[in-house]
Symmetry: C2
Subunit: 223 residues, 2 copies
DNA sequence: TAGATTGTTAATCGATTAACAATC
DNA sequence: TAGATTGTTAATCGATTAACAATC
């Protein structure tokens, strides 16, 4: 058992892992063997001490004056996230967002493979999306059970989200990645992760507002 | 000047604002005039005290025993985020993700209106995406300046992100919403908000891992 | 009125940052 | 060796949670 399995890694650290991973892979591709926390921090606009703390969570040890072994860090992060193995998942909702996600190159890097796509629109059923034939939603339970799928990605409109989520859970799905702007009401045993585009835009809006406000003050329009 | 302009609202609170907003609008549509923090908390799986603290940030005051006026809260949040007025923006990268975002109904609700779309692929130029004609990227500066646009949404592949971001900044863009999985290197004066799909998936992966680990322990497979 | 709910003040919790000895 | 970098321990900062008086 790894040391870090006992103590939960802070959520902010987990959120930074993917950015580290991409950067580390870039460096690995360029043949770089070692990298320091200082360098990583600079390229991601973080503080070196924070990078060192984050790297400590992976269990990988660095060498003073040299830094960390790039490959070790990559493996450490991938192992922690379970991205070293591929996990099969289904996608529900063959709209624009679903298409974008399937086409999104990142999926492969994150160890997620969409093996079935569902849509309630009969006209879409039978056609392909990213090389995967779209199935009718009535077949969801059968396919999930047959393939032993645990994860569902939900990209249906908000008003359909709760219903398809319940269908997925009924079929045996354990984890849901929800892109619908709707809070899902499911048993506690189901892991739900929401990705809300509006949340991110709210952050931008707040930053812009603050920025404009501060500019105003500097220009003396205010007190 | 509003009281809350002086003190920054916590980022976690800002991140929760969009979910509150959607729920409040649902209630408003159903003709509900008042709502308590307790009810909001229940529906979003938060604690009542947290909702009260968040609502306090909007400057809206509630009535003991009754709760908050739904419309007031909606206006309070929208005003803070600047979502009560429409802001024009451009979108760079007419791929699947760009199409999904333009089609995404949420944009209108968030006061963001895409008025121009750019792509470097000449074959796409001239065709439409969500009712907007795609322009060649060479015209970006002219259009941004002519329309006085401040915000750019970037949905190009990772390796093109830095370049188009620099073009946008050069043209006068002040805020960037970056969907490309690449850390942008821009002047401090530019507000950059990234939306990283892998970040969200990393959270789900960590939760699943923890869940599996705890299940294992319960079943006694591990000390 | 009684009880639910608000808003405020204080306590707790957790993440970030600082300081510094250890080390290659 | 000297200096850059690590890892650890302590301090700081900020958000969440608890407690409780005020109130409709």
């Amino acid at each position: 058992m790894n040391k870090q399995e006992n103590y939960a890694i802070p959520l902010p650290t987990i959120r930074r892992f993917p950015a580290y991973l991409r950067l580390l892979k870039d460096h690995a591709n360029q043949g770089q063997m070692w990298i320091s926390a200082t360098t990583l921090a600079e390229q991601l606009k973080l503080k070196p001490i924070q990078v060192r703390k984050d790297m400590a969570c992976t269990g990988v040890e660095g060498k003073p004056k040299v830094g960390f072994q790039v490959c070790e860090l990559i493996l450490g992060i991938e192992q922690y996230l379970g991205w070293d193995n591929t996990t099969d998942a289904i996608l529900i909702g063959a709209g624009n967002l679903g298409a974008a996600l399937i086409g999104y190159k990142g999926f492969e890097n994150n160890g997620l493979r969409i093996v079935a796509v569902f849509d309630k629109d009969r006209r879409k059923v039978g056609s392909q999306m990213g090389g995967i034939v779209i199935s009718q939603i009535e077949d969801l339970a059968d396919i999930v059970k047959k393939l032993g799928i645990n994860i569902a990605v939900i990209t249906v409109p908000a008003d359909a989200a709760q219903l398809v989520a319940e269908m997925a859970v009924e079929a045996g799905i354990k984890g849901i990645w929800n892109f619908a702007p709707k809070s899902l009401n499911l048993p506690d045993t189901i892991i739900v992760q929401k990705t809300d585009l509006a949340t991110s835009f709210a952050e931008l809006s707040a930053k812009l507002r603050k920025h404009l406000f501060e500019q105003k003050r500097v220009h003396g329009d205010d007190k």
